[in-house]
């Protein structure tokens, strides 16, 4: 069997009050862009922290390029790069200095250093700003600089935590382009977390959705979307019996539909709508509006995590996410 870039086997992380990660197993191929999705508190960040050797696992095993993260943590850190969600470039230094400090901490020999830093700044199109103070940078430039810091060591595995949070659509496109280029040109394995389903769909080869410490599902975006079961018809009706009547007609509605909306999962929704309306009318249900939606990753996300996206957020996490947002934009 070919060696994997990342292997997570029966990973458990138990905190005094919560089981943050509960028996999670998956693996990531070399050169793959892997997205870890899920509501806050689902265990994504904990999983990444274990992989980055920041915290030890309670049980289970994690390997990066066949190196055990708990046993040989320094060797693992040497081949990984990490871009945290928050602004992590130092505003009181120039961009060159920021990358220089990273290069030094990764133990790069002085001879190679200068050339490598130039290369990476060039790759991220920051060369003309290399001697400017970082606190004058826009959110997108800051993000690029942070990626430059993580790349200067040419990591085999790059961890990106919410790479485009708080960026405007333009800056976001640029970051996406860079991530793809990185994989295509250097075959870097990329593991990212995101709340932006569009981003996950655009970038990720495979996606794992976590919920309450478990890995709820895993697969290619196209497969996952197909598995949600085709098209979704949403029927808006103030008539309380709508839900029941649909059941009588032999349609199953998906879970967690808020009141007044009934979501049906069907194939060939376009042709089904007239039939459906006819059926409801004959059973005395007044329909106010109907909409048809082709499945997106949002639906996959909702299916596996429920509609309670906000529930898992702790105060600290919410504060962090909002601050990250305002600081970038």
């Amino acid at each position: 069997m070919e060696e994997k870039a990342i292997v997570v086997q029966n990973l458990v992380k138990q905190y005094p009050k919560v089981r943050a990660v509960d028996d999670v197993s998956f693996s990531v191929d070399k050169g793959e862009i892997f997205g870890l999705l899920g509501p806050n508190g689902a265990g994504k960040t904990t999983t990444i922290r274990v992989l980055l050797t920041l915290i030890p696992p309670t049980s289970g095993e994690t390997l990066i390029y066949n190196i055990n993260t708990a046993k040989n943590s320094e060797d693992v850190r040497r081949i990984c790069g990490y871009v945290p969600q928050d602004v992590s470039a130092d505003g009181d230094l120039t961009s060159y200095e920021n990358v220089l400090i990273s290069a030094k901490l990764y133990g790069m020999p002085p001879k190679e250093r200068k050339q490598r830093i130039q290369e990476v700044l060039n790759f991220l199109e920051l060369t003309d700003r290399e001697n400017d103070m970082v606190n004058t940078f826009s959110g997108g430039m800051m993000r690029r600089l942070e990626i430059a810091q993580a790349l200067v060591n040419r990591p085999k595995v790059l961890f990106l935590d919410e790479p485009s949070i708080g960026l405007d659509p333009n800056a976001r496109r640029i970051i996406w382009g860079l991530i793809k280029k990185l994989r295509d040109e250097f075959n870097t394995t990329i593991m990212m977390t995101t709340h932006d389903m569009g981003e996950a769909d655009e970038l990720c080869d495979r996606i794992g959705i976590m919920n309450r410490g478990h890995l709820a599902t895993l697969g290619k975006p196209a497969e996952l979307k197909a598995a949600v079961g085709g098209d979704i018809i949403t029927i808006n009706s103030s008539n309380p019996g709508c839900f029941q009547k649909l059941k009588e007609m032999g349609y199953s509605t998906i879970a967690n539909s808020p009141d007044g909306h009934c979501d049906l999962v069907v194939n060939n929704g376009e042709t089904l709508i007239p039939q459906l309306l006819e059926g409801l009318k004959s059973r005395g249900v007044m329909v106010e509006s109907v909409s048809l939606k082709k499945p997106t990753l949002d639906d996959v996300f909702l299916k596996y995590t429920g509609a309670r996206i906000e529930e898992g957020d702790t105060f600290a996490e919410t504060r962090r996410a909002r601050r990250a947002f305002t600081r970038r934009s």
């Binding site: 922290r49 850190r77 030094k104 990764y106």
Partner: protein, 263 residues
């Protein structure tokens, strides 16, 4: 050989983190100037006033003016006040996720702590230079030979490291900036007053003397006073020993605490 290269790497990483601090100071010196205000007040107002009180001057070593006696104390104070709030930076960096980023580099935890402590030392040195210049402007007579100045700088670095490590160790327990601010306030003044920084041990209330004796700051002040004012170096080895031991102890505690801080 492997051990040797590990040790070299350990210190190299610590120096890189201190270099980062030095570069920051180079870009923005305002903090250095702002922080000069307090020692200036201590020397110019408190010092000049107290030197008129004969009870105070009666107890300090002969041939020393009160300002000569006090300048090493103010030196210690200026570095102490910077160092004791150092844990706040670490909590801040933890909240921002910066600490995780630093910890995800190959540098070991304790080399990161040592590096942070050295950063406090770097700031302390700038502070010390400012206080010495201030003292010279006030015409305080200090021993200015290069060796004793070198000794003073070494002491200042150790002092800053010692209390920065203490501060970081506490930060790993309290975990919020607000609490850290409060605790910093609570411990600086007792440390400062229960030492020989601004008055001789002999005139302290007797119950406070045992505290002064276990207070590393007492030894710091004593060493600097020997180097800058009296020129009598007999107790210097003991002073160095105590300060170094305290620094290593707090360094170990802070390194252990760092583990708690990220999990």
């Amino acid at each position: 050989m492997r051990v040797l290269s590990e040790v070299r790497k350990y210190f190299a990483n610590a120096f890189i983190i201190a270099e980062l601090e030095l570069r920051k100071i180079r870009h923005d010196q305002t903090q250095i100037w702002v922080r000069m205000v307090q020692p200036a007040l201590w020397l110019a107002i408190y010092g000049l006033t107290m030197s008129k009180i004969s009870a105070m001057t009666a107890y300090i070593p002969k041939n020393l003016t009160y300002l000569q006696f006090m300048t090493p104390g103010v030196l210690a104070q200026s570095a102490l006040f910077v160092a004791i709030f150092f844990g706040i930076n670490v909590v801040w960096e933890r909240d921002l996720g910066l600490l995780n980023k630093l910890l995800s580099t190959p540098a070991s935890r304790s080399s990161i702590i040592l590096g942070k402590a050295l950063s406090a030392g770097v700031r302390g040195i700038f502070q010390a230079v400012a206080v010495i210049i201030l003292a010279l402007i006030l015409r305080v007579h200090l021993i200015m030979n290069p060796l004793s100045l070198l000794g003073v700088f070494v002491i200042i670095i150790l002092l800053s490291m010692c209390f920065a490590c203490l501060s970081m160790a506490i930060a790993s327990l309290v975990k919020t900036r607000e609490r850290m601010m409060g605790i910093g306030q609570v411990i600086t003044m007792p440390l400062f007053f229960a030492s020989s920084a601004i008055y001789p041990l002999a005139i302290m209330p007797s119950w406070i003397k045992p505290i002064a004796i276990i207070n590393p700051l007492t030894y710091v002040v004593d060493a600097m006073r020997d180097l800058l004012a009296t020129g009598n170096l007999s107790s210097l080895p003991l002073d160095f020993l105590v300060i170094t031991a305290a620094t290593i102890l707090f360094l170990v505690l802070a390194s252990l605490g760092l583990k708690k801080m990220v999990s």
